[in-house]
């Protein structure tokens, strides 16, 4: 009962915060609302018995990626943009697209069938702690996605430097 109450709070707060993020004129305010949003997502992970995921959410997303956003937002001179009234022209196109997206998402959600519960029940994970359970699987059964992840990170690193250096030269 209590967890359902928390879930309702988190879900409601996440929707409201997302709306706040996209509707603020001042980009720094958007980033700060997004920070609060990430904390709520981490809270959701906590209630799903995934404390390591909650920690990662805050460390990488809130503490890394959002800081990157903040750097970019603050280092651009944004005085002119704050005075624009509307960012895009809404109207039929935007609305139809949003409606189509909503229909697609609700159809996919309603056709969701939960898989049968596997070996890792709540008690087993509580006993063994989430990180150890995750670690035991990740580095033995899921080794291939793990190594692919390192290649993706390599590409990201090299790509960022190439793009930035090109800008530096021009």
């Amino acid at each position: 009962m209590v967890s359902i109450g928390f879930f309702i709070y988190f879900a409601f707060a996440i929707v409201v915060l997302s709306l706040l993020v996209v509707t603020r004129k001042n980009p720094v305010h958007s980033v700060l609302w997004m920070l609060l949003l990430f904390f709520h997502i981490a809270g959701l992970y906590l209630f799903l018995n995934a404390e390591f995921m909650a920690a990662i959410q805050v460390i990488v997303y809130a503490g890394g990626i959002l800081v990157l956003f903040l750097f970019v937002v603050l280092l651009m001179n944004l005085r002119e943009e704050l005075s624009i009234g509307k960012y895009t022209t809404f109207g039929p196109t935007g609305f139809t697209f949003a409606l189509g997206l909503f229909v697609a998402v609700s159809m996919s959600l309603s056709s969701f069938i939960a898989a049968p519960p596997g070996k890792y029940s709540i008690d087993l994970i509580k006993q063994e702690t989430h990180i150890k359970a995750l670690g035991k699987l990740l580095y033995t059964e899921f080794i291939y996605p793990f190594e692919v992840a390192s290649l993706i990170l390599l590409v990201a690193m090299i790509g960022a430097i190439v793009l930035a250096k090109r800008r530096l030269k021009s």
């Binding site: 209590v2 967890s3 359902i4 906590l46 209630f47 799903l48 018995n49 404390e51 390591f52 990662i56 460390i59 990488v60 503490g63 890394g64 990626i65 800081v67 990157l68 750097f71 970019v72 603050l74 280092l75 651009m76 001179n77 005085r79 709540i122 509580k126 990180i131 150890k132 995750l134 670690g135 035991k136 990740l138 580095y139 033995t140 080794i143 793990f146 190594e147 992840a149 390192s150 290649l151 990170l153 390599l154 990201a156 690193m157 090299i158 960022a160 430097i161 930035a164 250096k165 800008r167 530096l168």
Partner: protein, 123 residues
């Protein structure tokens, strides 16, 4: 059964966060009552060693900050992958150690590239 798990050990953390925020806001709000408030334009100008400030306060940026932030994200994710490996290190055998060495070596390639391209050099 879904919905029966409660992360009870995080309750103190939640309470502490609320207390810390309350402490900060409270300290500032109580001060409002006690402080003098005599603003005049000279006092409110941003400080620039006594000279009148001129120019846009936000200057053109160095792209180096962006590179540092990007590299930080990549290395942070790498560190995230290393933490669970370190915890279960005893239980997953030698092969997992070699896999992690491969992981680190691949990222080392990127690191050496960044080094050569002087991403870590500031003027």
């Amino acid at each position: 059964m879904p919905g029966t798990y409660l992360p009870t050990e995080y309750l103190p953390v939640l309470i502490f966060i609320l207390v810390a925020e309350a402490f900060g806001f409270g300290a500032l709000l109580i001060g409002v009552v006690f402080r003098p408030k005599k603003p005049y334009p000279e006092k409110l100008m941003p400080y620039e060693s006594g000279i009148n400030p001129k120019g846009e306060p936000r200057t053109r940026f160095a792209i180096r900050f962006y590179i540092i932030a990007m590299l930080f994200v990549v290395f942070d994710v790498e560190a995230i992958f290393i933490y669970p490996w370190a915890i279960v290190f005893d239980k997953i055998g030698i092969f997992a150690f070699i896999e992690m060495v491969i992981f680190i070596l691949i990222l080392l390639i990127g690191y050496i590239y960044a080094w050569k391209k002087e991403a870590f050099v500031w003027d």
